[in-house]
């Protein structure tokens, strides 16, 4: 609204009263805080296992959607989580959340994959090293922890972002709506791409003999994954 002389007079206007959010359908688990995870599984493995880095590669098949909570941490790359990471998550989330009104749930199992390491300063050879620690493999697109309760995303986002920053792979705090929005945007991008040449099309029909330079996994990964990295900007 213009005042005399043409200058706009800033006004607050009527207060738009917002209804408080509806937390009626939320079921709290018995223990709201995150469970303690063991460093070593109850039956430690004797046989040393091969590295099997393919459990990091590609998109995740499990734990991609929310189960109990409303907010969580989504992994945007592959990696191994060991006990130190899990303790950090457990303690940080436990410190910042209010157990009376919020609850947290693990979406990642306890470390079970043994990882070996040779002692420092020795040359190659002499067999495989002893088991150093146990880790859990996390692929991109998997939820690590879930949070829920009578809270809104703004309350939860700061410490989830803090935790996500400390993880060995890129991660981002999400809510149910933001994840849905992310998936919808991805789908929209895929549909309204103006480029007639897509990686998928080139690989499936082996145009120009490109499969000589690509891996057979690229048939499945469609150029969105490279090693353990997830290329977010690719369609």
């Amino acid at each position: 609204p213009a005042g005399p002389g043409g200058a706009a007079v800033p006004r607050a206007g009527l207060k738009k009263l917002v209804l408080p959010p509806d937390y009626s359908g939320i079921v709290f688990p018995e223990k709201p805080k995150l469970k303690f995870m063991d460093k070593v599984p109850a039956v430690p493995k004797v046989r040393r296992e091969p590295r099997r880095l393919r459990d990091i590669r590609g998109p995740s098949r499990e734990a991609t959607d929310f189960i109990q909570g409303q907010y969580g941490i989504l992994a945007l790359g592959g990696g191994y989580l060991h006990w130190g990471h899990l303790e950090m998550i457990r303690l940080t989330v436990g410190r910042h959340m209010d157990p009376k009104s919020m609850f947290a749930v693990w979406r990642v199992p306890a470390p079970s994959k043994p990882v070996t390491r040779k002692s420092l300063g020795h040359r190659m050879g002499g067999g495989k090293g002893p088991i150093d620690r146990y880790v859990t493999a996390v692929r991109s697109g998997r939820l690590v922890v879930e949070l829920g309760g009578r809270c809104h995303f703004g309350e939860v986002q700061p410490f989830l972002a803090q935790v996500a920053q400390k993880l060995p792979f890129p991660a981002v705090p999400v809510s149910r709506e933001s994840l849905r929005e992310m998936r919808r945007e991805e789908e929209e991008k895929r549909l309204n791409n103006q480029n007639p040449w897509t990686f998928e099309r080139v690989v499936t029909s082996n145009m120009l003999g490109m499969r000589k330079y690509l891996s057979p996994y690229d048939l499945r990964l469609h150029g969105r994954y490279w090693g353990k990295f997830f290329l977010k900007h690719r369609v």
Partner: protein
């Protein structure tokens, strides 16, 4: 040595004695999944560059089109209530004055409300964004230019403009902008003139007096002729008496 070569490169087809691959694959270099960013084949890099995402480009860029405008939000119950109240004010009061309101201390606001209440005038604070649509649809369209800045409405079922002006004269922060009295829109000057008008009883008496002025003059009008004649004759007698004083006063014809 032969078995070692077989064990190392067992997946290769075309493995014949003396055949060496042009590119010694898997001898040195990293595995598929590495901690660092593994260098991509140049052909692969070219393929990724060619198959990048191209966003849609509409023929008319969206910033050249008129702004879409936010969808009108569903009306608040609170907004509806305030609108109803404003309509009620306009319907029930004979006099509605619009004043500009600058911020006053709270106790002064209370005092002003008290003085105006004594003259049966109610003070109402209104928001422009509510009152503008209400006025635009009603018959008070011409009051719209008044509702620009912070303002208050002084509503009353009686038209006591003089007392209102006297109260508002003592408050410098509230300035009268205009009023609507008995379905007549008046400016500030108009309100002052209206206040200076005599009260209804006095004006009624004045009207009655003005109307009965002519009839009251009727008797004097009718008697004017004979009065003139009487005055002339008296004057004549006096003059004759004066001239006939040394002599004999003439026998005056009596009338």
């Amino acid at each position: 040595a032969g078995t070692a070569k077989m064990a190392a490169l067992s997946g290769r087809t075309g493995w014949l004695r003396g055949w060496l691959p042009a590119l010694p694959l898997l001898r040195r270099g990293s595995k598929a999944v590495t901690r660092h960013w593994r260098a991509m084949n140049f052909q692969r890099q070219k393929l990724l560059a060619v198959t990048e995402y191209l966003p849609p480009r509409p023929a008319v860029p969206p910033r050249c089109l008129p702004a879409p405008g936010d969808h009108p939000q569903e009306e608040d119950g609170y907004v509806r209530l305030l609108r109803r109240q404003v309509e009620e004010v306009f319907r029930s009061s004979r006099m509605v004055a619009v004043c500009q309101y600058n911020s006053m201390p709270d106790e002064d606001v209370v005092l002003m409300r008290h003085y105006l209440r004594k003259h049966n005038i109610e003070v109402k604070f209104v928001l422009n964004e509510i009152i503008r649509p209400v006025l635009a649809e009603s018959k008070y369209r011409n009051l719209l230019p008044l509702f620009v800045c912070r303002n208050i409405l002084l509503a009353s079922p009686e038209t006591r403009a003089k007392e209102m002006l006297r109260v508002l004269k003592g408050i410098p922060q509230v300035n009268l902008l205009g009023a609507c009295i008995d379905d007549t829109i008046l400016s500030r000057q108009g309100v002052e003139n209206f206040a200076r008008l005599p009260s209804l009883e006095a004006s009624q008496g004045q009207t009655v007096g003005a109307l009965s002025l002519l009839p009251s003059q009727t008797s004097s009008l009718l008697q004017r002729g004979p009065f003139l004649l009487t005055a002339l004759l008296d004057e004549h007698i006096r003059r004759l008496r004066d001239t006939g004083a040394p002599g004999q006063p003439p026998q005056g014809q009596g009338t």
